[in-house]
């Protein structure tokens, strides 16, 4: 494919892509309406291009991208499942898309009803008492719940609880969100089976602990078997327990964080509930909490009036405040609502069952060619190690990932979790056929063979993508963050 370049390279002086209407009200000179000092001296240097060039340029850029629509995307921890088209149409209904957040509740009853119902759905799925849909991403959900932990402890005269415990296998957002709330962080090492052990946890508990953040199943794709005891230990020590819900695709209809003893959790709607990830976002990270934390949830809350209509309640003295300018990423919420409605309880359970079946099938087929450090069965994802390929043939996880690109497959997550050497984290999701999974496996097995037979081919990959391997160090060293 020829080099597409940037939109600026297509500029033609005098070209216009958009025609605005003539002013239909009596116009006054700008200078009479605004002070000269407030005006810009020269127009911004934006590209001057024709509409057909814009369409062609961004179409070509899109062709240099890989999405779920293109093929399998087994990026561990990210739950890259198919995004139904119906949901896109529904989010664009004028009654959902052309509404303003400052309209009175009376004019937004349908939107509030949808949100109220979605809150109840997420409560049922997570086993929680209340949900706030406001956090616009998972990390913001973590932050919101941990700030609620802080307010809860402070409200009980326990302001000395300033420490959050996370396992060493946790997502980076966990400690980062906790630090933003002013907590200090203690990392607890995982046990030999990849699970959090009560003994390791006990050593970290004391009366300054505000809580524990745990992903379940964890980032190795393993269910934390001792979770009930772990939650009880933290509770006995006066702390609260947070569930990073990134891996809910392994649990729907099977088990619920609320029943395991967790006090709060977030849902990644852009993972489990099939809203598209948009190359990085927007997503949504609603939080569910047990009733003891309900007073601290973000404002406004949706409340039901005695006549059955819905209202927004801003008057909540204990609330942590606002974590989004308005009501969260509403457009994302519409898609997740439609997804849950389409599936029902039985359908969501089936989603989880197929996701776990698919992951175990791929795991089984790769078990010989790669090291799989932890015993199965896995849940919805698993982590393998390319340690053997690295030490024996000099082909690291990153090399293998790049070679998979040549074979037409999006690589898995690499080098995460941090506790597995040469980690490759594979999450096929439920929306793949056996044929597609076999294609994934065959590609992995081919690369494993190539590591032995032609390691230079692997280390030199990718060769067939739009670009060969990038110099990422140069990007950070010779910083260039804009064109021109």
């Amino acid at each position: 494919m020829p080099d597409e370049g940037l939109i600026f390279d297509r500029a033609t002086a005098g070209a216009m892509a958009c025609r605005l209407p003539e002013c239909d009200v009596p116009a006054q000179p700008v200078g009479e309406l605004l002070p000269a000092g407030a005006l810009r001296d020269a127009p911004p240097v934006l590209p001057e291009v024709y509409e057909w060039d814009i369409v062609r340029h961004y179409t070509r850029l899109s062709q240099q991208c890989y999405g779920i629509d293109t093929g399998i995307y087994p990026l561990g921890s990210c739950t890259m499942k198919y995004n139904p088209r119906l949901h896109e149409d529904l989010a664009h209904l004028p009654g959902f898309s052309h509404i303003h957040p400052e309209q009175p509740a009376e004019q937004l009853q349908g939107a509030l009803r949808l949100m109220r119902e979605l809150e109840a759905m997420l409560c049922a799925i997570g086993g929680m008492d209340c949900v706030s849909l406001q956090p616009p991403a998972g990390a913001q959900g973590e932050f919101s719940a941990l700030l609620a932990f802080r307010a809860y402890h402070t409200g009980r005269g326990q302001a000395q609880r300033t420490r959050i415990i996370v396992p060493d296998s946790s997502h980076g957002t966990n400690p980062a969100s906790a630090a933003r709330c002013g907590f200090t962080i203690t990392h607890v090492p995982s046990g030999p089976c990849g699970l959090m052990g009560p003994a390791e946890l006990r050593a970290a508990l004391s009366d300054d602990v505000a809580g524990l953040m745990l992903t379940n199943p964890n980032t190795l794709g393993l269910f934390e078997r001792e979770v009930e005891q772990i939650c009880a230990m933290v509770h006995d020590a006066g702390g609260l327990v947070y569930c990073d819900g990134a891996n809910m695709n392994a649990l729907m209809g099977i088990a619920r964080p609320g029943d395991m003893g967790f006090d709060a959790m977030h849902f990644n709607l852009h993972k489990t509930f099939s809203t598209p990830h948009g190359g990085g976002g927007p997503g949504a990270g609603p939080i569910g909490v047990k009733s003891i934390l309900e007073p601290y949830l973000p404002v406004p809350r949706i409340t039901e009036r005695t006549d059955g209509t819905l209202d927004l309640d801003y008057d909540r003295a204990k609330s942590i405040g606002r974590v989004h300018t308005f009501l969260g990423n509403f457009g994302v919420l519409v898609r997740a609502y439609a997804y849950i409605l389409s599936h029902g309880a039985q359908g969501l359970t089936e989603v989880t069952r197929r996701a776990v079946l698919n992951a175990n099938y791929v795991r089984e087929r790769l078990a010989e060619a790669f090291d799989i450090p932890h015993e199965g069965p896995c849940m919805h994802e698993f982590v393998l190690s390319a340690e053997r390929q690295a030490s024996e043939h000099g082909c690291r996880a990153l090399d293998i990932a790049k070679r998979l690109i040549d074979l037409g497959i999006h690589p898995p997550s690499v080098y995460f979790p941090l506790i597995v050497h040469e980690a490759m984290m594979i999450e096929p999701t439920e929306t793949e056929t056996k044929q597609s999974l076999d294609g994934l496996v065959d590609a992995f097995l081919q690369v494993a063979r190539e590591c032995k037979e032609s390691p230079d081919l692997v280390r030199g990959a990718p060769q067939t993508a739009y670009r060969t391997r990038l110099d990422e160090a140069k990007a950070a060293r010779d910083l260039k963050l804009r064109a021109g």
């Binding site: 961004y58 529904l90 913001q140 980062a176 405040g321 994302v332």
Partner: protein, 448 residues
């Protein structure tokens, strides 16, 4: 819509390969006492037609801006977004991709974000833009945290009328680190003398919004001088569309300029997804939150793009990261880039100019109605202004929804004393007929 199943032939073959007779065996690591005994209490499953019907019914009970011309602002504006935007961002290669962890497979997305960063720098006159935050309020919170980190001070002075929703975000998201001091506006503008008194040597930043929450223009040069005299940063919350006419923040010394860009991406969508715009000076780049795309080369020396400065980010730095943000609003940033490219330098100027003319036309007409007056007759303003109404704003908005219907302005009374102050926003989309109708409806409300 198809649904995943474990009852198809594929599943049988995979179970056979795994040597299990039932998928349930794969869940054996979950202790039996933790297994959900019953079924989740959920509605559905519904067919596509039923889901669509239910959603259409819900949507129909909202008063939407296609039925009722929208005169509300306060951070969300009903601007025109050309068809190129919705069509191009709907391409599945963009919408169904994850963050570009494998840049060789995401060059198009990264290039589009790099273009967005470039155009945003052009528009704002700032050195650096990141590739998006959540929205205007959370972007302001991040800006305040950057200022506190770089100055090692914790007091932040808010000058004049900054969007109160934004300030609520700042208090929640930065309240652990930052002590927020608000200096209320006087006559619709920042009170420079009072700001000067508060901006002592312990001040990390002065925050100012341009145009401010009441729509008025602030004296940016003066506020900038005050901030820098105190050794503080100047943080500006801007409206990108206004920059078609107004001086860019970089030209009057902003150190961090943030804003809401949702109006460039698509319809209002109840204020979310929005687009958090974050720009800053070169000096602050390593403190910047969120993802940023940089240029590099591949092994053949070809110009390429990659998410860079990742050592600031949570997946590397964990609790020492500059921010906890992971998922952002990348697709919205691509949309904003397509918007700016479609508008071009003349289009963006024309939009701002149309807003200016139509807002002034509306303001003159409303101020001429009996009982109505401009709250800040001195202005100056661009597309939004506050009127004092003869009856409480809540009543007016309810009546406007019946007569017309119209989506009324934002009730800003809580900032101005009693229940009679409404901000009115007029974008380029509002026709003379719509404005005249709106003014007539307002007149009718006051007579009733």
């Amino acid at each position: 819509m198809g649904r995943a199943s474990v009852r198809d032939a594929d599943s049988a073959a995979m179970m056979a390969a795994l040597g299990v007779g039932s998928v349930d065996e794969l869940f054996r690591t979950i202790p039996p006492e933790l297994r959900l005994a019953g079924r989740m209490d959920l509605p559905g499953p519904l067919s596509d037609l039923e889901v669509e019907d239910r959603c259409r019914r819900l949507a129909a009970t909202n008063l939407d801006g296609l039925t009722a011309p929208c005169f509300a602002g306060g951070g969300v504006y009903d601007h025109f977004v050309p068809a190129t935007v919705s069509h191009l961002v709907a391409r599945g290669e963009f919408t169904t991709a994850y963050t570009a962890y494998q840049p060789e497979l995401s060059q198009g997305m990264l290039a589009a974000l790099f273009e967005f960063q470039t155009m945003l720098c052009e528009l704002t006159g700032m050195d650096v833009a990141n590739s998006s935050l959540y929205d205007g309020g959370t972007a302001l919170a991040e800006a305040v945290l950057v200022a506190a980190g770089s100055t090692r001070r914790s007091r932040v002075v808010v000058a004049g009328a900054v969007n109160p929703r934004y300030l609520e975000c700042v208090r929640t998201l930065a309240g652990v680190t930052v002590d927020l001091v608000t200096v209320p506006a006087v006559d619709g503008h920042a009170d420079l003398a009072a700001v000067a008194l508060d901006a002592g040597n312990d001040c990390a930043a002065i925050v100012v919004q341009q145009p401010n929450y009441f729509g008025c223009l602030e004296p940016m040069q003066e506020v900038s001088a005050l901030a820098h005299a105190a050794g503080a940063l100047l943080i500006v919350s801007f409206d990108p569309v206004s920059l078609g006419l107004l001086g860019p923040p970089g030209h009057y010394g902003a150190d961090v300029a943030v804003g809401e860009g949702g109006m460039m991406c698509g319809p209002m969508s109840l204020g979310g997804p929005g687009l958090g715009l974050f720009t800053c000076t070169r000096d602050l780049v390593r403190r910047m939150p969120g993802r940023v795309v940089g240029e590099t080369v591949d092994t053949l020396g070809r110009r390429s793009y990659v998410n860079t400065l990742q050592t600031r980010e949570q997946h590397i730095r964990r609790e020492k990261a500059t921010s906890n943000i992971c998922t952002n609003q990348a697709l919205c940033a691509v949309a904003a880039g397509i918007y700016l490219a479609t508008m071009g330098p003349r289009g963006i100027r024309a939009v701002a100019d149309l807003c200016l003319q139509k807002a002034h036309y509306a303001a003159r007409a409303i101020a001429a109605l009996p009982g109505f007056s401009m709250a800040f007759p001195e202005g100056p303003f661009l597309k939004e202004f506050v009127v004092r109404c003869p009856v409480p704003v809540g009543e007016i908005k309810a009546r406007l929804a019946e007569t017309g219907p119209f989506i009324g302005g934002v009730d800003v009374s809580s900032l101005l004393g009693d229940g009679h102050y409404m901000s009115v926003a007029v974008t380029e989309k509002r026709t003379r007929d719509e404005i005249d109708g709106f003014v007539r409806a307002l007149g009718g409300v006051s007579r009733a």
